[in-house]
Symmetry: D2
Subunit: 447 residues, 4 copies
């Protein structure tokens, strides 16, 4: 992901106009006075962190690519007393959505004195009159106690709605800032809304807060909910370990989410280091053959008597592709079920090729790992994403998402985030940690 | 279950001989001196609790059926310094096994000064030399820190081993007391071992500690691990509720263990009261038809927009029986998968019969609910079962299990516990609570 | 506690009049038809469970004492369409209050079609106009999502209010059934309200649901919240164990609630069996002297290098009494802080009498153990208490509490429950378990 | 913290000599081949992330300050077959110590084939023969199941031991690499050991892994255990909130660790956003006066009826200093107890100055928050710190700590980390988040 040759232009944030109103936040503009500060549009977060790369770029006259730093601006675009905001949550559930909703409401209401905030229900269906989902007024009272709740108090839905109708709704309701919490599809939709608004010459800011439990949004270090998700997935691993080590030739097989990206699987395997094999979409493997997974698993069983395997749902699709076609409601390609496939193929392998009678226990925690409330880590992250989303929206920025890079919060053009999907590179330090922690072969492929 | 016409004889506990040795426990034999007391063999726990039933029995000259009360006896049979004990864990895992193991070891070692305790590994395979599973010496040091671990530190296995070989092993190793932790099959095995020991005239006590996550052992109020299991199942229900209420026409479907008995399903639905339908083996239901489950579910969805369903694995087998035959390794009949069946049939029903597009999320927590460590409630229960098992064993009792009845610990003949399986009666108060809590129809059957 | 010589009369439940209205619950009156049943007023739960004691009573012509069994009656007193109910929560917080509130509301609303249910806020202050706490209408919508919340959504307060004013309020608001959730003081208040209502000839039922985290209500096997409380207390014990064993001569000292009764301390020590000493109000101990606690602790430290101690707040008050006088807001005698006292006295003992430098870590989890939400066990218990409270109230019963005895739900006169406080007897099986689990001396007193 | 003017020299890592042995890890040296890579000594992590600052430095000819990147080197210094390693844990407990121990052992044993790893017990006492704490051989078997355990399996101690004796021990036992897990004092000790080793011309690598629950080590973005600690602290906050909102004029007051730095308090207040006031050492406040804390609290109570306060133990020491003097065993200045002080002073304020009768509930979770096992986040972090510590040690680096900066693992000279203590600056984004989340005044001081 660091090999990109970004042009500076691509990181610029669009705004609706000049921010002329003094922020009600009353922060400092001076560093060193021990008072919290406003952030300037010129504050940045460098894309690279390696000194030699930076010096090399400078020597070659290439620009230093950097994100705009997120945070409260001294001057804002919207007059709080006249501002109405909207929030919508789309796509699959994810830990922390309610934390984001709550902090957007609390920050708008208490810090910026924006008193009218609508929640659109059931995703983008909420904009379309035909569905009959009335928007709900979100007051502090209404969101105070939602921190312990999983899911989204606004409910969600998949699938696109007509962009024109959405903008009609925003215009009709006089919404100034729309906060869209969603994944790849939602961000794509937010880009279309942003463009339609621009075409119509409306003054509506569209701010995305990336939500994907798979952590596969580019230029965002980590999406919210991931930490909670792999914490819960680690519980399933613990069960798999208990089952595997509790029976003769026990195998614990856990399938977790991760359609294209193995972040949950990799992190979970590190969070509870009793996993022997991590199978993810980004690292190809063969099942059969002398270097293949089955043979390696057999060796492990013969040496140690049990094994724990975690597989991301998108792994090993080459073995399933032929039988599957089409897309799901969100337009993602349908996947074959690698968990069920491995469950039966592992059994077959040992039955047909060895004298080992395996005790295979299959665990698919499925929705359990995404419908829990955010843990403490994600709760903080969600709050800070929301606060920065509000700061960006009030400043009149638009067509952007809030993200994080090198531990700093950033404003990034939504278009950039959509330009490619984020994968877990086998050359990332985290995969090295997985190899070191599991001891699995660097590659399980035959020539 | 209360309709049984037990004969007094059936509740008598067999012993290996007269208990002549003074217990090292140094308890009191006097009530009222504020010092913990020994329990007498004549102390009992009545089978019934209703006054009128008792009076009626007395009037009719029928005996009052009662269990022997468990607890430490003033005189014990075995000389602690010469006693060797064995522990084995069989069948499926269950929360609390390690707690039972630990407390047996700690009570034998520290209270009775029995210093030689062997753990047999991988269930009854551990008795059979051919498997090569060496018994492990269980010292306090070895078990001190196992309370937080799920599963069994001794590992387990299913399937019967030759009773003669087992008794050979006990005899050869000079085991005085064998503690068998296991379910229906294991108790059956313990009965056979007990009989073989008797036939050979050996002085070996066999004490069973019933272990079944399904809670289906008769004459035992509740088996250990059940509380933990339904606590964890309730977490899956929470996820199902979040998912169901988070999408248009959302349905959360959770399958939990319970082959013949719906205790986990029923308790879990009460533990997190957001369930609308509880389907268990003991309460028949139709899927189709005007009073059937599908039509009732449809009404719920039209009225409330979402629904949460919990189904025990043994429920609705009449819809699956035809395709399934044979038995599993423990000799239990194989079941069809009602969860997967409902998953697809509910979708079909709504697709073919209604205009509703349901968002069905299926959660099968499977082994997660049984491989966790015991919660605080089960930890106490396991400890007390183990303490009482040790007291019974040291007193030379045999062919029995420790259980609980009306909140008291009991000694019961293993034969009695095997005489029938325990079911959740639709006339038990707990099912009334389920009906009141869910609001589901008392019956979902067509004439 | 079992030595009471209760008169049958004392267990009779008062009613407001004949129950003539057919219950809307549509249950069965026939046992054996596999349909949940109504409970009859003549159904009972025997006080004793020992066969010999029962037979002895009969031989001596003494009546068999038994509680009335709780549950839904076929005929009810109140016409649901005209019934208004009230709920109030008083005294200290306790896990499960919100579960009770929720189930009362849900059962009244959905099962009995009682649509008007008021919550009185801030305890009995809520009845007194001067405080300005408006009653809140409790609809299902309002209570659906409160299961995960600790405390009481109605808030609570201590201290008595004028009984006449309370009854004025009930009369004025036309309340038919008042559910009072509270401890000793609250039940005393409920008795006074009940008597005042009777004096005035009003038709208002008063049903108590005993709430005391100390579990010190007589004739109630276990109060709700206790299980959750000792589960959480066990977490503090785990920390104490980690700290004690993590330092040279480490001592972990945990203080838990239990003013007069050591149930939390005893159960917590069993729930996490790493405790070496349990000090409770019911079992006297000396600190000094050859058999005293300090000397015993010293032996433990010399032998094992660390020790874990749990002390109930009411233990060892003889060492603190002299400096304390007066009562708290609820009229309970003020206690000296045994935790802080032991903290300093243990250090002094080792400093002044030994060469051991102890690392003493003191943990007082205080309100943490009572402000958490109910765990699964208590959630079920609370629900069933609430359901049975509603059944009793709708049947026109009054001046009573719902309780549990021998695992069955009971209706008991509030007066009886107030007749004495419940203590943990050193002759109860649970204390024997504590002695066996900790290995502490049966007595730590000098002659 | 970013205002430092570091000299490049200060970030250089010392080594024992040239690394000539080929690492057994078999990683790649080529980027882009999808195989995990070795890290080069010239790989860096820049100290700053702001583009303008970087460009300004370059313009002024100042060097770009950067940390050496941690990770496996292609050539290592020690011959694995002859290498013995030692591990010691010092100072107070902290979540994750066992994770670090386990990963050091696993990585040395399985990845580098270093088979002899000693654990020194009870901190630096373990090096001194007089204490009689025998070193323990740490094999994978011994550490496999310690992930769920809080504390340190090696136990710990405070207070310095003689550096000469420590080095004598290392020399005598032929230790090649010493891993020291500890805080400020321990790192200071590791520096002294490193210098003594150098003076003696020994070839022993000393690698520190910073451990401080207060997160107050400079040049380390975050110390392990912090995430777990504030997660648990957030539970105490939840209790405080429940208690505060459950009583008339309720106040929940929580004291948490943080002697000099308010990271736990600040993060916990964000993790459960129901806190109204966060008091930390770095942000001075007055109690009395028109802008003071008491007056502000009074306003909150009058407006909202309740308040939740979290205070770090080192906050407000100006009110306590006069009565306290001296240092604790680790040489830290003794602190007065701000929690107990506020507990009584808040009550006094309201009693003496207002008509409000406050219900103040004080919670001091104390050791609970540090003795729990690491959560998933810290588990991963600890593992990666340990892996990188092993890589550094095997490469012959010494006098250093492993840390993290901008999300990357770094090697940093221990001297640098000791040069100053890390504080939470009121100008850090996290404090801004706290202000926004709590709504507390930016300053609570009078002129």
């Amino acid at each position: 992901m660091e090999n990109l040759d970004l042009r500076e232009k691509e990181l610029e944030i669009d705004t609706l106009g000049e921010a002329k109103i003094i922020s009600p936040l009353k922060l400092s503009t001076v560093y060193g006075d021990n008072i919290a500060n406003y952030v300037k549009d010129s504050d940045t977060v460098l894309f690279y962190h390696d000194k030699n790369k930076i010096l090399d770029h400078i020597k070659k006259g290439k620009p230093l690519i950097a994100f705009e730093k997120a945070g409260p601006r001294q001057k804002i675009y919207y007059d709080p007393s006249k501002t109405k905001a909207g929030i919508v949550t789309c796509g699959g559930l994810c830990p922390g959505i309610n934390n984001v909703i709550r902090s957007i409401v609390m920050t708008l209401f208490h810090r910026y004195n924006v008193k009218t905030i609508y929640g659109f229900r059931y995703g983008c269906q909420g904009f379309i009159p035909g569905y009959g989902h009335e928007p709900v007024l979100l007051l502090p009272e209404k969101v105070r106690d939602i921190l312990g709740k999983g899911g989204s108090i606004l409910s969600s839905s998949r699938g696109p709605q007509d962009v024109g109708e959405i903008v009609d709704c925003l215009d009709r309701m006089n919404i100034s800032i729309l906060f869209m919490i969603g994944g790849d599809g939602t961000l794509r939709c937010s880009q279309a809304i942003y463009e339609e608004i621009k075409k119509r010459g409306l003054k509506i800011s569209v701010i995305g807060i990336p939500k994907t439990i798979d952590n596969d949004i580019s230029y965002v270090e980590k999406t919210f909910g991931l930490e909670t998700a792999f914490s819960i997935a680690a519980e399933a691993i613990k069960s798999a370990y208990v089952e595997a080590s509790g029976a003769p030739y026990g195998i614990g097989l856990v399938k977790v989410m991760g359609r294209m990206s193995g972040f949950i699987a990799a992190n979970a395997s590190l969070a509870l280091n009793v996993v022997n094999f991590v199978l993810i979409p980004e690292v190809p493997f063969d099942l059969e053959g002398p270097n293949g997974f089955f043979k390696t698993l057999e060796k492990r069983l013969r040496n140690r008597g049990y094994a724990v395997i975690i597989v991301a749902e998108g792994a090993g699709q080459k073995y399933l592709r032929e039988n599957i076609e089409g897309e799901d409601d969100s337009g993602n390609p349908k996947l074959g079920d690698i968990g069920i496939y491995l469950h039966s193929e592992i059994k077959n392998y040992f039955k047909n090729n060895t004298d080992i009678y395996v005790n295979l226990k299959y665990i698919d925690p499925s929705y359990i790992i995404r419908s829990v409330p955010a843990n403490a880590h994600d709760a903080i992250y969600c709050m800070q994403l929301a606060q920065n989303a509000v700061h960006a929206g009030m400043a009149g920025k638009t067509g952007m998402i809030v993200g994080r890079w090198k531990g700093q919060f950033t404003n990034a053009p939504v278009k950039l985030a959509l330009s490619q999907r984020k994968y877990l590179s086998p050359e990332d330090p985290i995969w090295l940690s997985v190899l070191e922690a599991t001891g699995q072969p660097i590659q399980m492929v035959n020539e």
